[in-house]
Amino acid sequence: MSITLLVVEDDNILRKSLVYYLKSKDYEVIDVDNGNEAISLIANQKFDIIITDLNLPYKSGMEILYEVREIFELDIPVIILTNHGSESVEIESFELGASEFISKPFSPPILNSRIQKLLS
């Protein structure tokens, strides 16, 4: 059974590279570059894991996390990827229910191992 990931990242190059990498690891990947579309997709489709940046147009990664946890009430794992890796941001995201917090630049293989861990 295939695993479907949602990647939310507004930097084109990073997003495309990440999607390429994840597809090469045999995941089904859907990608968007803003928070609104991300929410639309989540409302209508089932994902196994959501990978999102924090800084996004329209809706931030934190808002996405909040809506996924509080409004949709989904347990689906959410991995936060971000450049703003401060301690307080990390704590806040875990309090909101993030499953993993990864600072950029990150290592793709390590991200993959985190994904695998969350899926098991």
């Binding site: 990242e9 507004d10 930097d11 084109n12 190059i13 990073l14 495309k16 590279s17 990440l18 390429y20 990498y21 090469s24 609104n36 579309e37 929410i39 639309s40 989540i42 409302a43 800084n55 329209y58 809706k59 809506e67 409004i71 949709f72 450049n83 950029k104 630049p105 290592s107 793709p108 293989p109």
Partner: protein, 809 residues
């Protein structure tokens, strides 16, 4: 006129409600039975009211009723039991009876009464014959049985009826009760709804979001008239950027019957903001389908205002706290800087060929200024304590360095008074520790200083002993002993308090602010240690301090000792080209003079930006970099030079702070060495020599395009990499151009953030972008902004060139 008795009999009869009822099988069967058993052609089950005998069931007898006076049964009724007429012709009473003289010519009669439970005869069961005859006992018995049976049936019926009536009444009462309860509940709900509508805005929506009804409070909140809003979709109350899909998602929940609540911002008719505390209550019908949605909204504008105020207050409090921090740090800097200048120039003055008198005078000035500096330090420390800024940090420091410093001070001070000194170190002491080395040094200097101060003859000693040691932690005892004047027993507890010395006289004689021990004690406690004192007047004192530390390195892993530390360095090779970044004019002069004396070419910049500018114009041998500078400080300037400009020119830090941990910070950022103010010629020259010897001539390293990070994503797929490269080449210059043209810090920060991700993929250093990203929250000069922008532009241009070269190859 009926007798009372008769009335009662009749009412008993009536209570059975049997008169004039249709024929029933049960009675017919019985009457047939008795006719059979008695072998008679006629039998009756009849009931006698006031005027007539009415037949419920009959055999062989036509009329259903007979007037009372014409009946035979009337006599049976009166007899109240079994009554027999063997020959009607012989009975006077029946001479004129129509049923005797005419058809059916009754000759024989036998019957018994039907008795009600109260004992009234309400009717009869009788048999009639046309011949004279007799009944045997069995037949007579049968008549009794049948009568009994009839009464049984009647009584049962009566009971049934009564029970049914009772039941009906019960049902009626209970249904009345239920109705009343229902009514109460309805009333309750109505009151509730009324109360809600009175105190909150209530909106009724259809499941698809169409506005059906709104109460006046709601309309008032949103500044609408009723008519305008009915029939419109709920979207009209939202701001444009509140995307529909957001509404759609939670609406999905609502339309599935899940209540939602929370704080929202909505749009009023005049496009102003309405802050609400809102609750959605979906109403379901019996099948579970949502038929209506109630939205209950409380005005949260006060809460919103409070939040804004809180936010503002918080920001203000943070600003104040920060400016307080800054104030103290600045004051600290402001005060120490001229002090350093005084001491520094006094030192220089000492070496300028003075007369004996002048040497004495200069020496006094120097002593006084060193004292003043120490007093100022104490005051600054106290002011930090007062403002709660009393912090103890955790850094890594080399214990040896501190001991060496203490030794120097001890020996210097002791030699002035011709005292002996002794320093003994436990062999188990580790090389590198984790803790606040700076504070430790401060404490020891205080104790040693006191020991020397209060001792006229004899010895001052420092002994370090390991009390407890594990693999990661250690407790060290520092013992400072002196053979001084001692402290009276009753004053022992007072010495740690602020502004007291053991004796008023001692304070006048020995001088000092009396702050040292108080600070030391607070520091020790903050560092989770302890201090004790033992003393005997005229013999001496012992101060024992125990402190915990973490162990970083047992033995030095790298040979830290420099080859030059044993030689007294007094000169530099001629012709060095040195860039000095220092904001203080006095310090600039100081350093420049020292260097000019050694035939060095000196360029001075008063802040990081000017420094970068000068740096780009000429090729230097090394940079002397002050840490505290306006606009761009020493750390940021060094980072830009090291990371973004990729230059390995030697950089030596100059700083007024004497914090031990700061050395590590400077080295981590990429500086080569560290010289603390007041700048001693020997220290400066040693560092310069070391730095310039170790560096290679071509300091500018060859830049290479590093695609290793990109290939972690692509797995080496050249085609995809080329695609990403093309995208980078086409997109990034545009974003950069936007950034350069932009003046709003918020937008610049966002653009810098955007560029950062792309830069990272291609291995381009992002330190300058980080600074630009963080500029959002700081006051930043146009100068600094432009400098940073131009650095980013240059870097990107260089890298784009590299990329294009790569692509062509």
């Amino acid at each position: 006129m009926l007798t009372k008795q008769e009335q009662k009999r009749i009412s008993a009869l009536l209570s059975y409600q049997i008169l004039d009822t249709p024929q029933e099988e049960s009675f017919n069967t019985l009457v047939n039975l008795i006719a059979e058993i008695c072998n008679v052609p006629m039998a009756l089950i009849s009931f006698m009211d006031a005027k007539r005998e009415w037949h419920k069931a009959s055999v062989g007898f036509q009329p259903t009723e007979v007037p009372k006076e014409d009946t035979i049964c009337q006599y049976t009724i009166n007899a109240k039991g079994f009554f027999e007429i063997t020959d009607t012709k012989k009975d006077e009473r029946l001479i004129d009876n129509p049923f005797v003289v005419k058809d059916p010519y009754v000759r024989y009669y036998a019957g018994t009464t039907l008795q009600s439970p109260e004992g009234y005869s309400i009717g009869t069961v009788c048999v009639l014959d046309k011949e004279v005859r007799e009944l045997n006992s069995t037949q007579i018995q049968a008549i009794h049985h049948v009568a009994k049976q009839v009464m049984l049936i009647l009584n049962l019926k009566k009971q049934n009826k009564l029970m049914r009536e009772e039941l009906d009444e019960l049902l009626l009462t209970s249904s009345t009760v239920t109705k009343r309860q229902l009514q109460n509940k309805e009333d309750e709900i109505n009151y509730l709804l009324k109360a809600i509508k009175k105190t909150a805005g209530v909106l009724e929506l259809s499941p698809d979001g169409t506005i059906l009804k709104a109460n006046s409070k709601f309309l008032k909140l949103f500044k609408y008239q009723k008519e305008e809003i009915y029939g419109l979709n709920y979207e009209v109350l939202k701001f444009k950027d509140q995307n529909l899909s957001d509404f759609g998602a939670s609406w999905k929940q609502i339309s599935q019957g899940f209540a939602q609540s929370g704080r929202v911002v909505r749009k009023a008719k005049d496009n102003s903001e309405v802050h609400l505390h809102t609750m959605y209550a979906p109403i379901r019908d019996l099948t579970g389908k949502v038929v209506k949605v109630f939205k209950i909204a409380q005005d949260a504008s006060i809460a919103h205002q409070a939040e804004l105020k809180l936010h503002t207050a918080k920001e203000m409090a943070e600003k104040i706290a920060k400016s307080k921090d800054n104030f103290i740090a600045n004051m600290s800097h402001e005060i120490r800087t001229p002090m350093n200048a005084i001491i520094g120039f006094t030192n220089l003055l000492e070496n300028t060929g003075l007369s004996t008198d002048q040497v004495e005078y200069v020496s006094s000035v120097k002593l006084a200024s060193i004292n003043l500096l120490s007093i100022i330090n104490d005051i600054l420390d106290i002011s930090k304590i007062e403002s709660g800024m009393f912090s103890v940090v955790e850094t890594e420091f080399v214990l040896e360095d501190i001991i060496q410093n203490i030794k120097n001070i001890l020996n210097l001070k002791a030699s002035e008074k011709q005292l002996c000194t002794r320093v003994m170190l436990d062999s188990e002491l580790p090389y590198k520790l984790k803790g606040d080395g700076n504070r430790l040094q401060q404490i020891l200097i205080n104790l040693i200083g006191n020991a020397v101060k209060f001792t006229e003859k004899g010895e001052v000693g420092l002994i370090l002993k390991v009390i407890e040691k594990s693999e990661t932690d250690i407790k060290i005892n520092f013992l400072v002993q002196d053979s001084g004047i001692g402290i009276p027993k009753d004053k022992l507890s007072l010495i740690f308090e602020r502004f007291t010395q053991a004796d008023e006289d001692t304070s006048r004689f020995y001088g000092g602010t009396g702050l040292g021990l108080n600070i030391s004690k607070l520091l020790i406690e903050r560092m989770k240690g302890s201090i004790q004192v033992n003393s005997t007047v005229k013999v001496g004192s012992e101060f024992s301090v125990t402190l915990p530390f973490g162990i970083v390195e047992e033995t030095p892993s790298v040979h830290d000792v420099s080859e030059y530390s044993l030689i007294n360095v007094t000169s530099l090779p001629a012709g060095l080209n040195i860039l000095v970044c220092e904001d203080n004019v006095l310090n600039q002069k100081l350093v420049t003079n020292l260097l000019h004396d050694q035939d060095a070419k000196v360029t001075v910049a008063s802040n990081g930006i000017d420094g970068l500018y000068e740096f780009s114009k000429d090729s230097f041998d090394l940079i002397l970099m002050d840490i505290q500078m306006p606009n761009l400080d020493g750390y940021d300037t060094t980072s830009i030079i090291r990371n973004d400009l990729n230059h390995s020119i030697p950089i030596i830090a100059l700083t007024a702070h004497s914090m031990v941990g700061e050395k590590e910070k400077c080295l981590n950022i990429g500086m080569n060495d560290y010289v603390s103010k007041p700048i001693l010629k020997k220290d400066l020259f040693t560092s310069i020599l070391l730095a310039t010897q170790k560096s290679k001539p071509d300091a500018n390293q060859e830049r290479n395009l590093d695609l290793s990070y990109l290939s972690e994503f692509t797995g080496g797929n050249k085609e995809f990499e080329h695609e990403m490269i093309s995208q980078f080449i086409s997109e990034t210059p545009k974003i950069l151009a936007e950034l350069i043209a932009e003046n709003q810090l918020e937008v610049i920060s966002k653009l810098a953030h955007k560029l950062k991700s792309s830069f990272q993929i291609f291995g381009i250093p992002t330190y300058t972008l980080q600074l630009l990203e963080q500029s959002e929250n700081k006051l930043i000069s146009t100068e600094k902004l432009n400098c940073l922008k131009s650095i980013v532009k240059k870097m990107l241009d260089d890298y784009l060139q590299l990329i294009e070269e790569q692509v062509q190859s």
